[in-house]
């Protein structure tokens, strides 16, 4: 008997927990501020309505209708589409492997926050903490100081994964999401009550309407929505496949999207209030301090935490605690997408599928706690997102809107939904989403081909950038060609009891 969510609330908390990740906290605020500020909200809302919510409705409908991990769901739609399911699963696998390392660093920094162990130069401290080497191919050995948090994170994730959907993931998200919200609430209140906060908010929200003439701002908006919602890489398909058939997917998609993007706006208010305070402290402009990603989290923010007037340890724990809970709820969803892929195609129990996924993940993730860990992670992350997820998304909407009867899915979506979605949904996916994701994929790929990535040597980029994409493609092929359990492609082979 296939597992199911205990309740719709449990599913929504898990889906929101999956969508709300590190990018919500350390990527969105900077993307918004540097792409027109308040004006960015226009393309941002437009992208939520024309891509975010439509793709969520699409994936929730596919999952609850065809009731399998991505490969099985795609295979049940059309035998020849199974490869895309495995490609999405392999993309999720790659992301799951390096995501570990970030959560390990975050856990370590919760510890450092007690004494602000980073001292006067958090940047130098972070590079020394990683034992960073000069290139991705120069591994520099395993950083032993990372081993303890590495084992702790692995043990926690394995414990949750082995417990399954209803007793493991749902329970973990019911605990983590309220904690995450409280931690961010404390940071936002602290941020807003600091001198200089308004300068930070001015920098983030002051509208520069001329920026909307620039196409890259619209691509950035679509990119932010697309990467922030955990869509197109098997997660939402897997999660919704454990829903009862009589689920209101339209409402669920709306709640997931507004909660996810509402959270990142909320976090952005906290982040830029504190950036405003830092700028005031250092007598510089907010733009000189503003940053994103790993640099913001492990270099800029520790500086801000040390310069707070009081309770520095508390706010450090709040910040890195928020990153930790956001990271764990995302990571278990990523791994569950992979587990569902194996569990539903091959004849194996849930526990065996978890083992089959966790063992290679564990071995490969050791690569990311070596001295070259962050270099490798930076390249892999750039390629698997900008080429892997983007191409999976384009192929997904093209296959469904041009080689399948999308109208059938719209009726499936509306069957148990209180608000029906009109035909605009078909055209939105077929035209708007396809064009914008296609443009995004084209620009990203062209840039990597002509300019490589960052300051890295082409050997590093070829091995860990293009090599990662090739890895995903080859393994997707291999798993597609392998024989699954009898009748896995036949939707009506599922027992009636499983569906309701």
């Amino acid at each position: 008997m296939r597992d199911q969510w205990n309740s719709k609330v449990g599913f929504l908390l898990a889906a929101i927990g999956s969508a709300v990740g590190l990018g919500n906290i350390w990527r969105f605020p900077y993307v918004a501020a540097t792409n027109g500020g308040g004006a960015f909200l226009l393309p941002y809302f437009f992208a939520i309505i024309t891509a975010g919510i439509p793709i969520l409705i699409l994936e929730y409908t596919m999952g609850k209708t065809y009731r399998g991990g991505a490969p099985v769901t795609w295979a049940r739609i059309n035998k020849r589409f199974e490869w895309l399911g495995w490609f999405q699963v392999m993309v999720a696998f790659v992301i799951g492997v390096y995501y570990f390392a970030i959560v390990v660093w975050v856990l370590s920094y919760i510890g450092f926050s007690f004494t602000q162990a980073w001292g006067a130069d958090p940047s130098a401290f972070f590079l020394e903490f990683l034992g960073l080497t000069d290139s991705a191919l120069h591994l520099g050995g395993i950083q032993t100081r990372l081993l303890l948090p590495f084992i702790v994170v692995w043990a926690l994730v394995a414990f949750i994964m082995y417990k399954g959907i209803s007793k493991g993931i749902e329970m973990a998200c019911k605990i983590c999401l309220p904690i995450l919200f409280v931690l961010i609430l404390i940071l936002v209140i602290r941020g807003l009550t600091l001198p200089g906060a308004v300068d930070g908010l001015e920098y983030m929200f002051k509208p520069d309407w001329s920026a909307l003439k620039n196409p890259s701002v619209w691509v950035a908006a679509y990119g932010q929505i697309f990467y922030s919602l955990s869509i197109a890489f098997a997660i939402m398909l897997a999660y919704s496949s454990y829903l009862p058939k009589k689920t209101d997917v339209v409402n669920s998609a709306f709640i997931t999207a507004t909660a996810n993007h509402g959270f990142e706006l909320f976090a952005g208010i906290g982040v830029f209030s504190i950036m405003g305070y830092m700028a005031l402290q250092q007598g510089v402009d907010v733009s000189d301090i503003a940053g994103s990603g790993i640099g913001l989290a492990f270099m800029t923010f520790p500086t801000a935490i040390s310069s707070l007037p009081a309770l520095n340890a508390l706010f450090g724990i709040c910040f890195f605690g928020a990153l930790f809970t956001a990271g764990v709820t995302s990571m278990i969803s990523i791994l569950q997408a992979v587990v569902s892929g194996f569990h539903d195609k091959f004849d194996m129990s849930h526990k065996k599928a978890v083992t089959v996924v966790l063992v290679p993940s564990f071995v490969l993730s050791i690569l990311f706690i070596t001295g070259a860990g962050m270099n490798i992670l930076d390249i892999v992350d750039a390629f698997i997102n900008n080429v892997g997820i983007a191409s999976a998304g384009v192929i997904e909407v093209v296959l469904l809107t041009r080689f399948f009867n999308i109208e059938k899915l719209r009726q499936e979506a509306n069957e148990f939904s209180n608000f029906s979605i009109g035909k605009w949904w078909n055209y939105s996916l077929r035209i708007v989403t396809t064009i914008l994701l296609g443009v995004m994929l084209f620009l990203n790929t062209k840039d990597f081909i002509y300019n490589g990535y960052g300051e890295y040597a082409s050997a590093d980029v070829n091995v860990f950038g293009w090599g990662t994409i090739l890895f995903a493609v080859i393994f997707a092929d291999a798993f597609t060609m392998m024989d699954g359990k009898d009748g896995y492609r036949d939707l009506h082979k599922i027992s009636y009891k499983e569906v309701n």
Partner: protein, 52 residues
Amino acid sequence: MSTGAIVMMLIGCIGLWGGCGVAIAIAMKHSKKNSSADDETEAEAVSEEKKA
């Protein structure tokens, strides 16, 4: 903070948090309606059983 920045911040917060609140309220309202509908069908089933 400039008026433009304040207005855009409010639009963002109201748009997203308001949208989320409305969607949750709708979900809760309809889940109550569905569960009371289920209770009714259950009660009917029981009464028919008694008649039979």
